[in-house]
């Protein structure tokens, strides 16, 4: 089997997109570093945690379990699985495209997967991006700033800027909204938009934002699958 392109040029295109994603992640890295330091984690463990989990929501939840004194191997695993269930959906939707690069390139690329760079990569795929190194490229700058932010948060925690004042809390929604506006190309594509919003609002009320994302994706995908016409129809 011949592999799909996986080149430095594609990585570079992804990397440039990742630079835009990375800025607000620095602010969240600072916030995580501060919380980790308050929990007594220390620089080494905080950085190791950020490098391997690479998910702000899951890391903050795990630290709060630690701080509450409820941490066991089971509660830590369950917390991360619940917070990151949306990554199942993200990696599933990437598979038909990414698997053509072969597992040795696809699986390491998935370690760099996050909310914003998944959105950016799906958007690039819809525009015809063929180079599978794009995904890994989008993840590098966010990972570097996540680690830099974590380190700075642990060391200089008390002199943080407030991420909210900088608007960093709105970067992911703004990204999602702006890319959605470009990707809606027909009246039919408004159906997943409406279904996703309704499902996210209904579920996030009771189960939080992470499950709201899962609900949006599953509802949008489910309705599209049920109403799909045999190939040739456009959605």
């Amino acid at each position: 089997m011949t592999h799909a392109p996986f080149t430095r040029a594609g990585f570079g295109r992804g990397f440039r997109m990742g630079l835009a994603i990375a800025m607000p992640i620095l602010a969240y890295g600072l916030a995580f570093g501060l919380v980790a330091a308050q929990a007594g984690l220390g620089t080494g463990w905080s950085l190791a945690f950020s490098a391997t989990v690479f998910s702000g929501s899951a890391q903050l939840a795990a630290i709060s379990v630690l701080q509450a004194g409820h941490a066991t191997l089971w509660t830590m695993a369950a917390t991360v699985l619940v917070m990151n269930a949306r990554y199942l959906l993200f990696s599933a939707t990437l598979q038909p495209w990414l698997s053509q690069a072969g597992p040795a390139r696809a699986l390491p690329s998935l370690l760099l997967l996050g909310d914003a760079n998944w959105i950016a990569t799906m958007r690039a795929i819809s525009e015809g991006e063929e180079d599978r190194a794009y995904l890994a490229g989008t993840g590098v700058a966010p990972l570097v700033t996540w680690l830099a932010g974590t380190l700075a948060g642990v060391v200089f925690g008390s002199i943080l800027p407030d991420p909210r004042a900088l608007g960093a809390d709105l970067m992911l929604p703004a990204f999602a909204a702006a890319m959605m506006a470009v990707m809606v190309r027909s009246r039919a594509s408004l159906i997943p938009v409406a279904v996703g919003a309704a499902a996210a609002l209904a579920v996030s009320h009771v189960a939080g934002t992470g499950w709201g994302i899962v609900a949006a994706g599953v509802a949008g995908a489910g309705l599209a699958a049920l109403t799909a016409r045999p190939e040739g129809g456009t959605a």
């Binding site: 308050q38 830590m76 991360v80 959105i119 709105l170 703004a174 959605m180 506006a181």
Partner: protein, 103 residues
């Protein structure tokens, strides 16, 4: 005061890391067992839009006027300029500005 860190902290962090990696791999690996079909293709095409819309809707529901203006600016700039990254930055700038003004 926080309770003292458990002595099993390294094992706990390793389990957390393993769970995070499992989430990233599991969806990808599971897709091998789904036979390709037009229904699967339609589902895959719809998912990103549904998720983007869900993220936007949740931020609007959790926020107030400032957040609505910021995200509205992001959508409008994106539709007008077709530059989605610049539009997102513009939306964030609107939020930062309004908050600096005390909104």
């Amino acid at each position: 005061m926080n309770p003292p860190l458990p002595s099993t902290l390294p094992a706990m962090l390793a389990v957390a890391a393993g769970a995070a990696i499992a989430c990233r791999f599991a969806g990808y690996l599971a897709m091998r067992y789904l036979p390709p079909s037009h229904r699967l293709n339609a589902a895959l095409r719809a998912t990103p839009l549904a998720v983007m819309s869900g993220i936007t809707a949740m931020a609007l529901a959790a926020g107030g006027l400032t957040e609505a203006l910021a995200l509205g600016a992001a959508v409008a700039l994106s539709a007008l300029t077709r530059n989605d990254v610049g539009a997102a930055m513009g939306g964030v700038a609107v939020a930062a500005l309004l908050r600096a003004l005390g909104m």
